[in-house]
Symmetry: C2
Subunit: 181 residues, 2 copies
């Protein structure tokens, strides 16, 4: 057995979402990502970085690739989701993010792929909301241990305000994924 889990999987698993509908090549994924709507709004990837991530995903066994000749155009490397990749993707897709700073990019990426999946977005939003509440309680507790107006207190006020804005926004999200697309 090779060492199963290496590093914690991050947003790169979102790329697998582009392979759910069928095999896809890197250039095409880059096209989708570079048009500034959809996921491209929250995740900007240089071409070379995208190819690096795809190589990594393949090394991790989440995708496989074959070289496909397209004369007279350059050959494409076409990627296909493996069952391991499919499993990893679904796990990623349905898990709330674990850190406040991941909400902006990674949570929104999940939401991007959950549009249309009936009810799943709602569930994710609920779970994320719960985690936000824990963050909030935690920060409030820590802020209470600082002298009011001190530097430490101010840093926690920042975090508290941020989490509160996220919670309010999650409610907006919920209202805009009521049950169907």
């Amino acid at each position: 057995m090779s060492p199963m889990v290496r590093r914690p999987p991050g947003i790169e698993l979102a790329l697998l979402g582009f392979l759910r509908a069928g095999p896809q090549h890197g250039y095409q994924i880059h096209q989708i990502l570079s048009s500034h709507d959809g996921l491209g709004l929250v995740w900007h990837l240089k071409q070379s970085q995208l190819y690096a991530l795809l190589t990594k995903l393949e090394k991790d066994g989440y995708i496989t690739s074959v070289l496909q000749n397209q004369e007279p155009y350059p050959p494409r490397r076409v990627f296909t989701l493996t069952s391991s990749g499919s499993k990893a993707y679904l796990g990623w897709l349905t898990s709330p993010v674990a850190l406040p700073r991941l909400v902006r990019q990674e949570f929104l990426a999940k939401l991007y792929f959950l549009r249309g999946e009936n009810g799943s977005a709602e569930l994710l939003i609920t779970r994320q909301r719960e985690i936000c509440q824990r963050w909030l309680d935690d920060f409030k507790r820590q802020a209470a241990q600082c002298a009011r107006g001190s530097y430490g207190w101010l840093t926690f006020q920042y975090r508290i305000g941020h989490i509160e804005s996220i919670i309010a926004w999650l409610e907006i999200c919920r209202q805009n994924f009521p049950e169907s697309r």
Copy 2:
């Protein structure tokens, strides 16, 4: 003339703040940063990373160093601010941050060193607030161009909420740096 500006200066200039009161060595700076109060609350630096940054600051001419024997303890490398470093530091310290994601860490770092500097914090807060307003107007404009409830609209709602929370927090900051300490 060597090529003057290489990369845009970032939060590493904050380290110069520890040298304002006099020469200092890396280990000591790391001590300060690792105690979880003060700047250590918003900036976590591994030891090796800190030394790397100091090396970089020296290469950029912002600090100079001498090796200082401390028998029987290991020798220290003691860093001193150059006039170029002093200038760069003051420029950094008094400039608002240019991106929303820099508020949490870099703006708070500036505030850390501005405590006690009478009135300077107030000025920085005002300038940052103005920039926030520009971000806000910009995001609102972009949100208005998206269909209400669409994915793009939601992403801008996130940003809008975030900036609004920052603006509210800046007012809290202002009230806690009224004129003196």
